[in-house]
Symmetry: C2
Subunit: 397 residues, 2 copies
């Protein structure tokens, strides 16, 4: 017998089965020119869509994911039955309400989740790019997503939203294409990485590259540098949680009730990290981790780079941070707000109380739902009075 709760879930609140789609473009000789000056093509982007595009093509929302995320943000995947990484936020009646909005989630170039990255076959060699893959930036990711949005026939996005590196892409969208973004929701993110954030990423990269199985990136015939990548991911998981959330989840509980008096995992937290590390190597490409973390470190939209000095933009912002997030602390979201206010941009800022650390943007869905639902409703009401594509609201005198 199916319970009422389950029925409700299945038939009222959820998207149901979804599939990942692929868009391929920039075929030679029309490759995309990257920020580093190199050319890349053909490029495939993996993406998913939920809900329906309205007749005026005015209800499209682009969702962008974090470092190890993918295009599968919501629904049940047809292939493996996995639910999306932002399942609680996207669906009928949810924060990003698929009864009202056409939601797109785009993967990133440089990744390993169906889009072109270092593990993809280099058409000129017939072998994986490996370190032959060109260096990419957050702006390059956004430029490819702009091509996808063109392909989908969408002139102006109602909203661009995402957390962590997804938030960096949101900011870059506003910086690169303000006339195509009616509203932006950068969550738990930053205009630029602090040296501490760069340091954590650098240790992650060094851990991968220290593994002899990495073979200077040319490991595709031999298997992943599993040990180095696992350690890298363990570091990540510490930074995603907070001191408090680790205390609540693990405290000092022992795995087997007694000390081992050797180098086994004595504490539950050790077992958790080992498990997460070992699992990660099955689902993520080590070279992608290198490329993507570097792209994050290079981003710097501070000091007038978010909005050009000579522009006023009509994009509305909702900036969200979490009180216990020490990887992307609230002061970094406040720097975004300061930058926007200095350019007379419409911006609301909320720091949500949470003990979950950086993971809060994935976990604390109730308050985010409330904020985002209202923000989107007001945005949509004003959508058609918005200056058209290519227009900015005028320059400073």
């Amino acid at each position: 017998m199916v319970s009422t709760a389950l029925k409700k879930n299945n038939f009222q609140n959820d998207i149901g089965t979804v599939e990942t789609k692929y868009y391929t473009f920039a075929h030679p000789p029309n490759e995309l020119v990257l920020e580093c000056g190199e050319r890349l093509g053909p490029i495939t982007l993996a993406y998913e869509t939920y809900g329906r595009l309205d007749a005026r093509r005015s209800n499209a929302i682009l969702i962008l994911h974090a470092l190890s995320g993918d295009a599968h943000a919501a629904g049940v995947h047809g292939e493996d039955g996995a639910t999306g990484w932002w399942e609680e936020m996207i669906g009928p009646g949810k924060g990003f309400d698929t009864n009202k909005y056409f939601v797109i989630c785009s993967n990133i170039i440089g990744g390993c989740k169906g889009s072109t990255g270092p593990a993809a076959i280099n058409p000129t060699t017939g072998r994986p790019y490996a370190l032959g893959f060109p260096f990419i930036t957050i702006a390059d990711m956004v430029n490819t997503q702009r091509r996808l949005i063109d392909h989908l026939g969408i002139d102006r996005l109602l909203c661009v939203a995402g957390g962590s590196m997804g938030g960096m892409q949101v900011l870059q969208w506003a910086a690169s294409y303000p006339e195509r973004v009616r509203a932006a929701i950068p969550i738990a993110t930053a205009l630029k990485h602090s040296p501490q954030q760069i340091a954590f990423n650098e240790v992650v990269r060094q851990s991968i590259m220290a593994d002899p199985a990495w073979r200077k990136g040319d490991y595709y015939d031999h298997g992943q540098p599993e040990k180095g990548l696992a350690v890298a991911r363990m570091i990540g998981h510490i930074t995603f949680m907070s001191d408090r959330s680790m205390e609540e989840k693990f405290s000092r509980r022992l795995k087997n009730g007694v000390f081992s008096f050797n180098f086994d995992a004595d504490f539950e937290v050790e077992g958790y990290l080992r498990y997460r590390g070992a699992n990660f190597v099955k689902r993520f490409d080590a070279n992608s981790y290198l490329y993507i973390t570097k792209a994050m470190d290079y981003l710097d939209l501070s000091a007038g780079r978010l909005i050009r000095q000579d522009k006023l933009i009509a994009t509305r912002f909702l900036v969200i941070s979490f009180s216990s997030d020490w990887l992307y602390p609230s002061y970094q979201s406040q720097e975004i707000v300061r930058e926007l206010k200095g350019r007379q941009v419409d911006v609301a800022y909320c720091e949500l109380k949470s003990t979950y650390g950086h993971d809060a943007f994935l976990v604390e869905t109730a308050e985010q739902t409330e904020l985002i639902r209202n923000f989107l409703r007001v945005t949509q009401q004003g959508y058609h009075s918005w200056p058209g594509r290519g227009t900015t609201v005028g320059g400073f005198a």
Copy 2:
């Protein structure tokens, strides 16, 4: 020509040339029984002393060092000319005034700085212990230091002091031998590691053990697992600094002025971490890092284990923490204070403002000097009215 400042340094404020001494004990069949149940012997402890023991043997202060420290706390080492790790704190007229006090700094078992540890020769095999070295705890370290203090003819220490893992040893001294410790100064430390602290240590261990050059600890004929140990140390350095101190020291400055668009060290902070990692492998044994971090993780002096329920102790405490230390946050020092107050122990607590993070206990010497100088003076005034060795101040009714 020697400047006045240098003269002053050399002849008035500094200890001058020092040498490391060694004490060997627990010769078979009288090995030391460790907490894990195994026996260890012979045991050598490296130590240094500064100043002179007075006739009543009442002015001895024991200094204990952090994870990668050694016995060389002050003065200029006769062999390599290196200054001590707490040079600013120990010497004539300094916080630990060697005109007044006889200062001892003891190394730890399990280490690699002259004391018996995994790199030492196992007398039964003629080869390095490697992972054959028995598991050690903070209490084992303190038990060997107690033997050293006996050897030096000191019945009661005026004070035991140290930061970080040194502070853990301070707390363990008070727990194991309260009647032999007149005063205790635990700095930037904790009664027990939180799961976050355990997690950082576990990643450090995993990084070392992931390096194939580690060879299950049996690498002494082949050289250190350099890459794994370097990554481990890089993680450590991030946790020793604060977000703020990294911003002040490095910000986002580039090493070579431009982005490399590859995986070189672009940012100064990356270069710094790589340098510190590479340097560490020249001076510290990887297996020692494993043993010592586990000893730290196992310590738990909370919930009545610092002072037994049936005891009142006469040891005075000065507990110090630093506002920006997120590795050993102030709340952990406050837990020490709460534990002591609950046992009617004389305790003063100071949180010092600093941006240096956990490194502050090594760097912020001015305020520590003031606090410690006064604390020691008052302690010494009351020393002879203190109940004798073996006495506790009575039990609860």
